[in-house]
């Protein structure tokens, strides 16, 4: 993944990005409320957010959930996949809607790392069994978290 040169952000863009990563207003006119806090017009906030989204700096605006509170469980998996098989393996894994993150990482054995969310650990185990069966990749580590010390709050931009 080659980083493109970041599009230039002005100070107002940075303040806006720092403001909207959490506690986005849940009010009839949220962009107007953000504008009032920051001394900007609603139209300016809307235009900046639309541009930052179009430029790919904002991936999305919405809710991030605690899977366990919604009755779901999650895990982190690491698979040992031959380099030539990565594409095929990724296609097989990514087909599951509960696979939300999947990265190729630079480890000499466990090179494909992905997260799985599902209604139960049994369902995750059956997904992994099906993936092993389909791809022939036998070594898949299943590493559910037992303790959460921190989940991303926000990036200072």
């Amino acid at each position: 993944m080659h980083a493109e040169p970041p599009p230039p952000l002005d100070d107002t863009d940075r303040r806006l990005l720092n403001r909207i990563q959490s506690n986005f207003p849940i009010t009839p006119r949220p962009y107007d409320d953000i504008g009032r806090e920051m001394g900007l017009s609603e139209a300016d906030v809307l235009a900046r957010v639309a541009r930052l989204r179009a430029d790919g700096i904002i991936r999305r605006i919405g809710g991030n959930f605690s899977p366990d509170k919604l009755g779901f469980v999650s895990t982190l998996c690491a698979a040992e996949v031959p380099a030539a098989e990565v594409e095929r393996f990724a296609r097989a894994v990514n087909r599951y809607s509960g696979v939300t993150h999947n990265y190729l990482r630079d480890h000499h054995r466990f090179n494909v790392w992905f997260t799985v969310i599902a209604p139960s650990m049994e369902e995750i185990a059956s997904h992994l069994a099906a993936i092993r069966e389909e791809t022939g990749v036998e070594r898949i580590l299943d590493l559910p978290a037992t303790r959460v010390f921190k989940i991303w709050a926000k990036f200072d931009v």
Partner: protein, 160 residues
């Protein structure tokens, strides 16, 4: 568990909300709710902790954090709590979890480390190793994003 209204609000805000003056009115209309009912339910879901964060998710590669590394650390179990807290307090660390080790993978503490370049990810990890005395660790850099999406909870139609 969640009632039908709550599930429809979760389904409406797990994607990308509109960048328009009254985004919740639009989402409410699509869900067959009034704007007021939608806002009340959404606030309540947040207050009860179902929504852990509500707002913008950035592409960190494009916002000054070009490098990210997963740190996998091998920590004595009786020190995991203290060291996990120490790591979680670092601002360059976005996620920190304990996970069970396995016979072929002995690491039990995991961190996502973000910096402007890989050398600085290494520097951050070295500083943590020095501060904690935990020197058995790996930094796994992502070489390719194979998938990055949000979970779809409670889709309108039945799941495959």
């Amino acid at each position: 568990m969640l009632n039908a209204t709550e599930k429809s609000v979760v389904a409406a805000i797990q994607g990308d909300i509109p960048v328009t003056a009254r985004p919740y009115a639009e989402l409410a209309a699509r869900s067959g709710l009034t704007e007021e009912a939608f806002l009340t339910t959404l606030r309540d879901l947040k207050a009860r902790g179902y929504i852990r964060r509500f707002g913008a998710t950035l592409r960190h590669q494009k916002s000054g954090y070009a490098a990210n590394a997963m740190g996998a650390w091998r920590v004595e179990e009786d020190r995991v709590e203290a060291i996990g807290r120490h790591m979680a307090a670092q601002r360059q660390i976005s996620h920190c979890y304990r996970r069970n080790p396995t016979p072929e993978w002995p690491y039990n503490l995991y961190t996502m480390i973000h910096a402007d370049c890989e050398a600085n990810c290494h520097a951050i990890a070295r500083a943590i190793a020095r501060e904690t005395g935990v020197d058995d660790y790996l930094l796994l850099f992502s070489r390719r994003e194979l998938k990055k999406t949000s979970m779809t909870y409670f889709p309108d139609d039945d799941e495959d």
